[in-house]
């Protein structure tokens, strides 16, 4: 049998490697199962993978779950400022009742998680450092994720929406003055050439995005016990790799920015608390108002130590 896995990244990206580990393990297990990977949006556009997955027209995907937040508002919690503090906290969150609740919602769409994983990100400013809410007031900013846009708007930033491919040029010409995105995007879009200061994910970070490997549940259930076992084993191997690499990416991005002469700033825990207080009044509030059972899910997530 053949499974089709689609994702949006290039073959050098960590998320492709995660998918490749699963595929390689399954192939080596010799259980008459092959995973064919379609990288770089060569099958579906990034934001248009969840629906084919839930209808079984796509078997697997590596997907930032919040992309499907328009259909399942609960998923917006997987990209919420200040909800995840660091990578180890993210790993604990993956094993918590909160993720069980998210898993139940996925099951309603016939979707299941194969590999859990979070990636972190930070801020960069064209003219100065952005560590606390006051720093971003009045700046034209592009943020990755709707909850972040709400929070930054609450801090007085002006939000500009544009495709990620336009960000480099917009920073260069000055259309944008600040940007918030993942560590790997900061490097792959070469933003270090255009910014003065970088605030990476460190001991504390605001920006964590849940980007699991998902699979259609019926397709999984239709596999033989050996095939399922091979998939599970490959997934476990990939998950361990994913967590290690996620930590390394942050450090690697700092290295690249430093080498290019960009100032590196750190967010203190007071800064973090200030952001989180702001997020409670903006993005958390908006989330609870627009999501059925929103408060319950938020409390579940916040209760993870």
């Amino acid at each position: 049998a053949e499974l089709r896995l689609s994702h949006q990244w290039s073959t050098s990206d960590v998320r492709h490697k995660v998918a490749q580990i699963v595929a390689d393990h399954v192939a080596a297990a010799d259980v008459d199962l092959e995973i064919r990977i379609f990288p770089s949006q060569s099958l579906f556009k990034a934001s248009e993978q969840y629906r084919p997955l839930s209808r079984g027209q796509l078997d697997m995907t590596v997907l930032p779950l919040s992309y499907a937040g328009g259909e399942r508002p609960a998923y917006n919690l997987t990209l919420m400022p200040g909800l995840v503090k660091n990578h180890d906290h993210a790993a604990r969150l993956n094993e918590s009742p909160f993720m069980d609740a998210i898993g139940e919602i996925m099951a309603e769409d016939d979707v299941m998680v194969l590999v859990d994983g979070y990636l972190a990100g930070g801020f960069a400013g064209k003219d100065g450092c952005i560590t606390k809410p006051e720093d971003i007031a009045g700046l034209q900013t592009r943020a990755a994720g709707k909850a972040f846009e709400q929070m930054l708007a609450g801090a007085g930033a002006s939000i500009a929406s544009m495709a990620s491919s336009e960000v480099y040029n917009a920073m260069q010409t000055g259309v944008l003055q600040a940007v918030n995105t993942s560590s790997s995007s900061f490097v792959s879009f070469r933003l270090y050439e255009q910014v003065a200061c970088y605030t990476p994910a460190g001991d504390v970070a605001l920006w964590f995005m849940y980007q699991p490997v998902l699979m259609n549940k019926s397709t999984f259930d239709g596999l033989t016990a050996e095939q399922q076992a091979a998939l599970r084993a490959g997934a476990a191997k990939a998950e361990a790799f994913y967590l290690e690499e996620a930590k390394k990416e942050d450090a690697a991005s700092v290295e690249v920015f430093r080498k290019n002469g960009v100032e590196i700033a750190q967010m203190t825990s007071e800064d973090f608390d200030a952001w989180r207080e702001l997020a409670k009044q903006t993005s958390y509030k908006a989330f609870v108002e627009s999501t059925p059972d929103g408060q319950k899910l938020l409390d579940l997530a916040l209760s993870v130590e």
Partner: protein, 188 residues
């Protein structure tokens, strides 16, 4: 594109239904044009807000995208009416009139079939977005049934115009493929 199709349009040959469909397609063209004009103005407004006033621009990019989708979908029947969808007409031109008519009818039937598929599943998609209350994943959070509505409406009206064209060819009131008929001595 410009000079070539200046005077070409679907002919109704006095058949009331065909004339009505032609009007409908032209009305679609008017709406599509206004949507494009609105995109120009909204984009300029967005630049003004951001560059001159330094303000937030939340809804403009998305609004413009959906206006463009709407303009494209509503433009389909209009451009079909104007014979503006570019094609390769070497083979049809080389055929004698009778064969050309048959080929035109076959081509129109095939087009109707595939656009019927697009219409049907487009309608399903719209219905799902409506029933489940899907929204776009942005701060603006548009109800997705609104932009998705362009699919069934656009393909539906496109199908109507193509059906009118098929009728025109079968009834013999219109030229197959909209190409000038050398025997009749028309100039395009």
């Amino acid at each position: 594109m410009t000079a070539q199709t200046e005077t070409t349009r679907a002919r109704h040959g006095g058949v009331a239904a065909l004339r009505a469909i032609g009007w409908l397609s032209q009305a679609c063209g008017l709406v599509a044009s206004l949507m494009i004009l609105a995109s120009v103005l909204i984009t300029c407004q967005m630049i003004f807000i951001r560059y001159v006033l330094g303000g937030s621009t939340i809804w403009q990019t998305e609004a413009v995208i959906y206006l463009m989708v709407g303009a494209t979908m509503l433009g389909l029947p209009y451009v079909q009416y104007l014979r503006g969808h570019v094609n390769v007409d070497l083979v049809p031109l080389a055929l004698p009139m009778a064969a050309r008519r048959v080929l035109a009818a076959v081509v129109l039937c095939l087009s109707l079939a595939v656009l019927g598929v697009m219409f049907f599943h487009g309608f399903e998609l719209w219905l799902m977005a409506w029933e489940r209350g899907w929204r776009s994943e942005t701060v603006w959070g548009v109800k997705l049934w609104i932009p998705y509505l362009a699919l069934p409406v656009g393909f539906g009206l496109f199908i109507l115009q193509l059906a009118a064209d098929l009728a025109g060819v079968v009834l013999g009131v219109d030229r197959p493929f909209g190409v000038p008929d050398a025997d009749a001595g028309e100039d395009a």
